[in-house]
Symmetry: C2
Subunit: 116 residues, 2 copies
């Protein structure tokens, strides 16, 4: 299992626009092989901006890599940049990928996973 996060530093006065942009976007992620789930996360306040993060769970790192090389990825990211007419960010976004090493569920079960 692999978690891809993109961290966004959104200017305080643009947080509403940023949230609406994500919530109203058309997403075809669920059609991509290996996609498990997506969450948009609202993080802590930081002086002139607020931290947000996209948070996508993939079955494996390979599934994530395959998606980044697909036409679907290029289409989604071309669209995302299209309505950036006013500055929305306090800096560039930052990608962080995580391999899941261990899982503990609410029933108390534990699982150790290999970082593929």
């Amino acid at each position: 299992m692999y978690i891809a996060m993109n961290r966004f530093r959104v200017l305080n006065e643009r947080t509403h626009d940023f949230e609406q942009m994500w919530i109203n976007r058309e997403s075809r992620l669920h059609e991509v092989p290996g996609f498990v789930e997506f969450h948009l996360l609202k993080g802590p306040d930081r002086e002139d901006h607020r931290l947000y993060s996209s948070h996508t769970v993939w079955r494996s790192h390979d599934d994530f890599i395959a998606w980044t090389k697909s036409d679907a990825f290029r289409t989604a990211h071309a669209r995302a940049g299209a309505n950036n007419t006013q500055p929305m960010m306090a800096g560039p976004s930052e990608f962080e990928g995580f391999h899941v090493l261990q899982e503990v569920k609410a029933d108390g079960s534990k699982k150790v996973m290999a970082a593929e």
Copy 2:
């Protein structure tokens, strides 16, 4: 839904010890009201250290706050510090809490959530 992440910058030569410490620890998280799931995440390599993150999903922010004020929290964190005899970290850990704003599942369903 609320995601609590603690980011750890682990010295390259201590990553094995760090992983084993987490994997072998006794966890009672599943007994805590509102706990959904826990993942230990292995992140990117960064010069002299590697980024790791604990990643705990809570039903709500209130459940998370209640846990941080509980005896269970104090016990877990007292134990975590007990075997730090050699430096393991390239710097202090960093907490980041996230409110889940939107969810997209593999069946294509979408849900917008309030950040409680």
